[in-house]
Amino acid sequence: MKSKFDNEMKLEFLSKSNNEAFARITVAAFVSQLDPTIEELADIKTAVSEAVTNSIVHGYEDKPGIVKIISRIKDNEITIEISDNGKGIEDIEVAKQPLYTTKPNLERSGMGFTIMESFMDKIEIESVLGLGTKITMKKTIKSMKLEEELTTL
């Protein structure tokens, strides 16, 4: 049965770092309908910020491009897809390693993927050199609202 919580949104914006706050706040507002805890919301905002920053800084290397976010709610699980048509990742396994960065001179710590992995339940990275990168992240919200809904069915 389709829950009344099933929902979807799509967002596209220019690859400028001053759009980062806009992106994470918009996703947080969308997730809010599941009534997440403050900590769950903070985790999601941080993971979104990491993926969006990566698209802007590494994908497009500060050249203008479009960052896309599609987010879906199914029951109490949120899925967030963040993609760019930037330069792509050469070796995903290497890129995922903690402390690995291709831009150490810009005070990058190489912790972005590690943060996404530990703050979300699941993360999938797809990338093609020269075509772009898509990050898909999932997290189950231990939502009170949904539980109430299900128990009154």
């Binding site: 706050a21 910020s49 990491e50 920053t53 005070e107 710590s109 912790m111």
Partner: protein
């Protein structure tokens, strides 16, 4: 960011008042470096009390200032870590390098 220098302790307190991400960190970094070079403090303390959001940009910010303070003969410390900030610093092991102090 607000800064306060206490001459008798050669202590520079940098209180971050904005969310820390790739966009905001550039301004914070410029201001921090300016203040550190201006006072050449013995201790630099980053105060995170009013930081409501931080991503990995904050790790880069601290590592950069850590190196800089060391190079200039000072010491970097951090204070008032909020929940979100603490979680990120704990994860990357930076707390083994930079002491948390009370302000």
């Amino acid at each position: 960011m607000e800064s306060k220098y206490i001459e008798e302790d050669k202590l520079l307190i940098l209180k971050v008042t904005e969310e820390i991400d790739e966009y905001s960190v550039q301004k914070i970094r410029r201001k921090a470096d300016y203040e550190i070079e201006r006072y050449m403090p013995k201790r630099v303390v980053f105060d995170f009390d009013s930081v409501t959001f931080m991503d990995s940009a904050g790790i880069g910010l601290l590592m950069g200032r850590y190196k800089m303070a060391n190079m200039l003969g000072g010491k970097l410390e951090i204070a008032n870590l909020t929940q979100n900030v603490k979680k990120i610093f704990e994860m990357c092991g930076i707390l083994k390098l930079i002491p948390v102090v009370n302000l």
